[in-house]
């Protein structure tokens, strides 16, 4: 396999592995926790190294994942004192743990050959140099296997515990009543997130892991309402972002991980603007239609309210309506014209009058809006 292909394969695996648990992070409104975890795993790696003295030891991954869970626990402990808000707790815990990690690395730089830059920023381009060799046979880049195992773990966990995750995300109280112990589900998910962050950081750097965890799920969130579809779409979007990101990076000769993050952002922006139902364009169009629809109901109701009263002539005169409702002239004309075409109103000596049809529509509208409550 060529290095280019290997890099793309790793990029896709990492992106998909990150996107899956990310879906639940986004839905549980815990996106910023992923930011926190991706920083603090550095401390886990450093501490793990002190124990094993081996940068490639799997114990490092365990230590880092554990540190992720500890981060979540510390943050929750702090915010549970009610002395500070939850977001403030996040913003206090992770810089502290991260600072400790940086200090340890600098102090013992002689014995730890750990480059902070590569942990935080990552460099996918170097991944193919680290080979997996079994029995003297080169079977591909090591990263492929590490991230592959990670993806497998995430997939299995989410498929097995799909029901539990769904209930605990949607309604923790209900989950508790049903006996699913939301706290267990919560920490289980956080362990997955930490593991993923640890597995992914060598490839893409820990800060950008956040982009891959949050980006595809948020994009998918604008496209679907179904949780399963959201998971599938997130995975797919992650893969697409990975490949497009690599191609762009290769074209411009820039950081691969950074370019993957930028592509993630651009894809989100496109979906944000053009998504079929929730996109900016379609919601602006809908709002415009709604405004007209709404103005028609509004006007009919206005006429209905003043029908037969003394002020009718002053409230419902063709020229008075716009001053009363504070609409501009063009808009008022437009609405009046539409209503007349629909046979709801007629003009009678400069006064707008409801037709029977109009009266009926108005009463119907009124009933519909009442029954909504």
């Amino acid at each position: 396999m060529s290095p280019q292909l290997e890099i793309q394969l790793i990029a896709v695996i990492v992106a998909v592995a990150c996107a899956l648990p990310g879906v639940f992070l986004v839905l549980r409104r815990m996106s910023m926790m992923s930011d926190s975890i991706t920083h603090t795993i550095l401390l886990g790696i450093v501490l793990g190294f002190f124990v094993t003295h081996d940068l490639s030891s799997p114990l490092l991954i365990v230590g880092a994942a554990l540190m992720g869970v500890v981060t979540v626990w510390l943050t929750e402990m702090l915010s549970r004192t009610r002395l500070l808000a939850e977001d403030a707790a996040i913003g206090i815990v992770f810089p502290l743990l991260f600072s400790i990690a940086i200090i340890l690395i600098s102090r013992f730089a002689g014995s730890i050959h750990l480059d902070t830059d590569s942990v935080l920023l990552g460099e996918l381009a170097f991944a193919p140099f680290d080979r997996m060799v079994i029995g003297g046979v080169d079977i591909g880049a090591k990263s492929i296997y590490i991230t592959g195992v990670l993806l497998l773990i995430n997939l299995t966990a989410i498929i097995i515990f799909f029901k539990e995750l769904k209930v605990a995300t949607f309604d923790p109280m209900l989950a508790a009543v049903l006996g699913f112990t939301p706290a267990l589900v919560h920490y289980g998910l956080m362990t997955l997130v930490s593991l993923t962050a640890v597995g992914a950081f060598q490839a893409v750097g820990s800060i950008l892991v956040v982009a891959f965890m949050v980006g595809p799920p948020v994009t998918a969130y604008l496209l679907t309402d179904d949780l399963k579809q959201m998971l599938l779409l997130s995975g797919l979007l992650g893969a697409v972002n990975g490949i497009l990101g690599y191609q762009t990076a290769a074209l411009l000769d820039v950081s691969i991980a950074g370019s993957m993050a930028v592509v993630t952002g651009i894809v989100f922006l496109l979906v944000f603007i053009f998504a079929p139902h929730r996109g900016l364009v379609s919601s602006l169009l809908r709002k415009r239609n709604q405004r007209i629809q709404f103005a028609k109901i509004n006007l009919l109701l206005h006429l209905h309210n003043h029908e037969g009263t003394d002020e009718e002539a002053s409230e419902s005169g063709i020229n008075d309506i716009q001053t009363h409702l504070r609409w501009d002239t063009v808009f008022t004309k437009n609405i009046l014209e539409r209503l007349r075409e629909e046979n709801c109103i007629r003009f009678d000596d400069g006064v707008v009058k409801l037709t029977d049809q109009g009266r009926k529509t108005s009463v119907d509208n009124y009933k519909i809006f009442f029954s909504e409550f």
Partner: protein, 307 residues
Amino acid sequence: MTTFIALLRDYTFQTVALGSALLGLISGVMGSFAVLRKQSLLGDGVSHSALPGVVMAFILLGNKNTEILLLGALVSGLLATFFIISIVRNSRVKFDSALALVMSVFFGLGLVLLTYVQKIPNSNQAGLNRFIFGQAATLLKRDIMLMAICGSVLLALILLFWKEFKLFTFDSDFAQSLGFSTKKLNLMLSFMIVVAIIIGLQTVGVILMSAMLISPAVAARQWTNKLWVMVLLSSIFGAASGVVGTAASSMVSKLPTGPAIVVCISTIVMVSVLFAPGRGILHRLYRRKRNKLLFKMEGGAPNVPSA
């Protein structure tokens, strides 16, 4: 002791310590408002998002002056804030997701630009990296001047509009009903917070900046129930940890300044949360125990202690 005195006479130390103290002071003041407005994490978002602005300013203007780079940081920080707000306002994406997405994408863009700059021949790009981790040691006298000027303007504005900011932070609807423009107040306060974040980047870097904004304010909040005392204490805590962190990193070899400052301020937070009279955890535990005792002895409801 003699090393300490020698240190105090050292010109570099004076510069760096002054810079860190200024940073702590400014972020302590502005952070109080950010925390009370429940915008703690905005600092994290804005500081990460500043990176592409720094590099872009360098690419476009080919200049490594701190003012220019920080101006770029300011623009991209504000742009990111604008994106976050528009995403939240126009879609069902929640604030935390929008924040996480925008800041990581911006940071990614920053990396792309950095790697791009490295490929331009003859562009001495060394030193741009310092905004990621912060390098207090590179602070120059003119950087201090810049910080002092920005800081004075911010402080003056806070003093001038103290009443308005207090009212707006506590109850914005009421402020509007009194005829104050909450739009203007919101814009002004947010802008000032962003400026405070940007001037700290050089010293502590994009990753640790959020701690400088949040921690002094959270610590100060535990000791007082008055806003002005909180803001004052917060600035003192911020400045003190700036100086102590700098001193520690000068006296201990291989101790980076930014992280040292953050550990310092975090220690103050922990002490405050545990030991502050009235609110602190220990005081609460003690009160609970005393109440239980009273309850047993008098066989009735305990007197609620007045503060």
